[in-house]
């Protein structure tokens, strides 16, 4: 699905929710609205959204949402209602509404996975009615990326009942009015203390790229206008030392919502997962502007990306990451690379602390950017995650101590990939095999299990119901690095597939290699049902409208 189409469909929902009441019935707001004072918003929106003596604009003043939410509303006003805007006016309106009627950082943080286009299993939905009522069609985060007055939520539910034939749900109104009200302590607090974005300078950057592992480096942020920035990024792979150089531009909404674009300094190759590819950047900046995290993503289904974390550089010695994720008990002479910034030279073993049972035997090498230490792990060292410290710089839960690998988990544990057609590119999928140890409860697949990092595995695939060992090339191939590529020819059918990781050395209690599996559905990019065309979007299907 094209970005424009996706935007169009999302906008249909947003615009319907936001503006249906204007034509179909008047609301009776009892809560205090948020006055609109921006001349451009008043001029461009006031024709339909009457402004009262307090400055409240009909419907608009009783809603808050993300930059994406306001952007989609504007798109729909242009598309469906003939609103005429210059690009500059559009940016100005989105910026104003995102700042004056946006989300507080805490509110936005909870729904970032939707904005970052991550497939996410939503587990916090309180009741089955809400789950079925909302998530059959969109992520629950889509609803929670809005804040509305109780009257606005009532109107929303009323429209759903009347127009979408959903059963009336006072439960949904009550829940959303309570969980996502217009006025919140978080918003009141943020509105009072929000300040200008002061992000210029050098930032330390760590990233994780599924299938490629850990990266580290820095990002230079330079102002290029009011809340606009230019960026220059240098990253180095922990695994193979390869380097990535990117440059980009970004806008920041409400001083914490980073929305940018960047690409590699070298042209991207045809490989779909090339790290020089142009990417959208979505990041959440901590309210104190000392750190940020988010995702830079690309691909037909936004399936590729850097998971990034930034912290503001300082002159203090700072640990960034370790090259290893775990150490086994009863082992000697383990070499661990500790990547950092402004590390002094020389350092001594006493400067490092891996916790009890892990002794730093010697420093193998040491520069301003890294320390290579040799450590020994006692046979009776406590199992589990532990912090690693260099003097006052601490990396929380940086390394796991384990005595055996109990199982291998393939992530994601379920996924979709897509064949291509004339208008849709292929949807790929990168898998990873992660080793785990049972936690304190002694049971696998429970919350206290300890992640040990990537496992050394061989990859294979198995199509459901197909004969074992039969050729699966007509469905696709999984590479030696766990990268699944759908077949070039669209067979016009869906396939259920196991993506299988078999450990090269770790075995179960029966002496068999540990095996992990992921359930992959390889599917068509579009299908027609009852005269309408449906297109794939992340983990759901979206109605594209009447089939032509």
């Amino acid at each position: 699905m094209t970005a424009a189409l996706r935007s169009k469909l999302t906008g249909l929902l947003v615009a319907c929710i936001a503006f249906a009441g204007i034509a179909l019935g008047q609301s009776s707001q009892t809560e205090e609205g948020i006055p609109v004072t921006d001349p451009t918003v008043i001029a461009k929106c006031g024709g339909c959204h009457a402004r009262d003596e307090r400055g409240n604009m009909q419907r608009i003043s009783w809603q808050r949402t993300t930059p994406e939410g306001w952007q989609e509303v504007l798109k729909q006003m242009i598309l469906l209602n003939g609103l005429s805007l210059t690009p500059s006016e559009g940016r100005s309106i989105v910026k104003y509404l995102s700042e004056r009627q946006g989300l507080a950082p805490e509110e936005a943080q909870a729904v970032m996975y939707d904005i970052e286009r991550l497939s996410h299993e939503e587990t916090g939905i309180p009741t089955e009615n809400l789950r079925r009522g909302c998530t059959r069609c969109h992520a629950f985060a889509r609803a929670l990326s809005w804040r509305r007055s109780a009257e606005e939520w009532r109107l929303l539910a009323e429209r759903h009942t009347a127009r979408y034939k959903l059963p009336p749900s006072q439960e949904a109104i009550d829940f959303l009015a309570k969980a996502a009200p217009l006025h919140t302590p978080e918003w009141d607090s943020w509105s009072a203390r929000a300040h200008a974005s002061k992000l210029a300078g050098r930032w330390l950057l760590t990233a994780y790229i599924p299938g490629r592992g850990k990266y580290y480096g820095e990002m230079q942020v330079d102002p290029s206008g009011d809340d606009d920035f230019q960026t220059s990024v240098h990253l180095t792979s922990v695994n193979d030392g390869s380097r990535v150089v990117r440059a980009g531009r970004s806008a920041v909404y409400g001083t914490y919502a980073w929305r940018g674009r960047s690409k590699g300094s070298d042209p991207a190759s045809p490989a779909p997962d090339d790290l020089a590819s142009e990417a959208r950047e979505v990041m959440w900046i901590a309210p104190d502007q000392s750190a940020a995290e988010g995702r830079w993503f690309w691909g037909s289904y936004q399936e590729f990306g850097f998971d990034v974390k930034l912290r503001r550089a300082s002159s203090d010695p700072t640990l960034l990451l370790l090259d290893r994720s775990s150490l086994k008990t009863g082992t000697q002479a383990n070499r661990v690379r500790l990547i950092g910034d402004h590390l002094p030279t020389p350092v001594s073993p006493a400067d490092l602390d891996f916790g009890s049972g892990v002794a730093v035997r010697r420093i193998v090498s040491n520069t301003q950017d890294e320390i290579v230490a040799e450590v020994a792990v006692a046979a009776d060292a406590s199992l589990g995650k532990r912090d690693v410290a260099f003097r006052h710089s601490v990396l929380p839960k940086a390394i796991a101590i384990f005595d055996r690998v109990d199982y291998v988990k393939v992530v994601p544990d379920s996924a979709m990939a897509a064949f291509s057609d004339q208008t849709h590119g292929r949807g790929y999928r990168q898998f990873e095999a992660i080793g785990y140890q049972r936690g304190a409860d002694g049971r696998p697949h429970t919350d206290d299990d300890v992640e040990l990092g990537p496992a050394d595995v061989t990859w294979s695939m198995e199509v459901f119901y197909a004969d074992k060992g039969s050729n699966t090339d007509s469905v696709g191939k999984v590479s030696s690095t766990g990268f699944f590529t759908p077949a070039a020819d669209n067979p016009d059918a869906n396939f259920d597939v196991w993506i299988i990781a078999t450990a090269k050395s770790e075995k179960n209690n029966n002496g068999k290699p540990l095996v992990g599996k992921s359930y992959l559905v390889v599917t068509v990019p579009t299908y027609t049902f009852n005269g309408r065309r449906y297109v794939r979007d992340l983990d759901r299907w979206v109605d594209e409208g009447p089939a032509s």
């Binding site: 209602n81 789950r131 119901y465 359930y519 109605d543």
Partner: protein, 128 residues
């Protein structure tokens, strides 16, 4: 304006009425729904995932050979609503499972009933 809005609402209604792929991405055409088979076996793995949870289990056939079977259940979301978790079935658990076997003879079935060793029935979700 009115026509535009009605069109918008109609299109939006269609969007909102689409069932998620995760709630049932394929039918039962691949399974022989005329015959229910019942098997006793031992769980080797359990995948609590969408679009279908899957239990893998071993069964000793009449010749005493161990066969590897797979039982498809409904989605993890639907099962969770019935109290299932990722540890509802664990490797080593004995089970009795009934369902429709794959038409092509594969050792796969679409589960319709699932009993633990103590006789407790684990309720299956929609589609099962």
């Amino acid at each position: 304006m009115k026509n535009s809005l009605l069109t918008l609402l109609a299109m939006t209604a269609a969007v909102l009425l689409i069932p998620r792929a995760a709630d049932g991405h394929h039918g039962l055409a691949a399974f022989d729904q005329k015959t229910v088979v019942t098997l006793k076996g031992t769980v080797t793995d359990f995948h609590f995932v969408n679009p279908h949870a899957v239990v893998e289990f071993e069964v000793k056939n009449d010749q005493g050979q161990v066969e590897e079977w797979k039982g498809e259940l409904s989605s993890a979301g639907a099962l969770a609503a019935r109290g299932w978790t990722a540890t509802s079935l664990q490797a080593g658990d004995p089970l009795t499972i009934s369902g429709y076997r794959a038409k092509n003879g594969a050792t796969s079935l679409w589960a319709t009933k699932l009993l633990l060793a103590n006789g407790q029935e684990l309720k299956l979700g929609g589609g099962n």
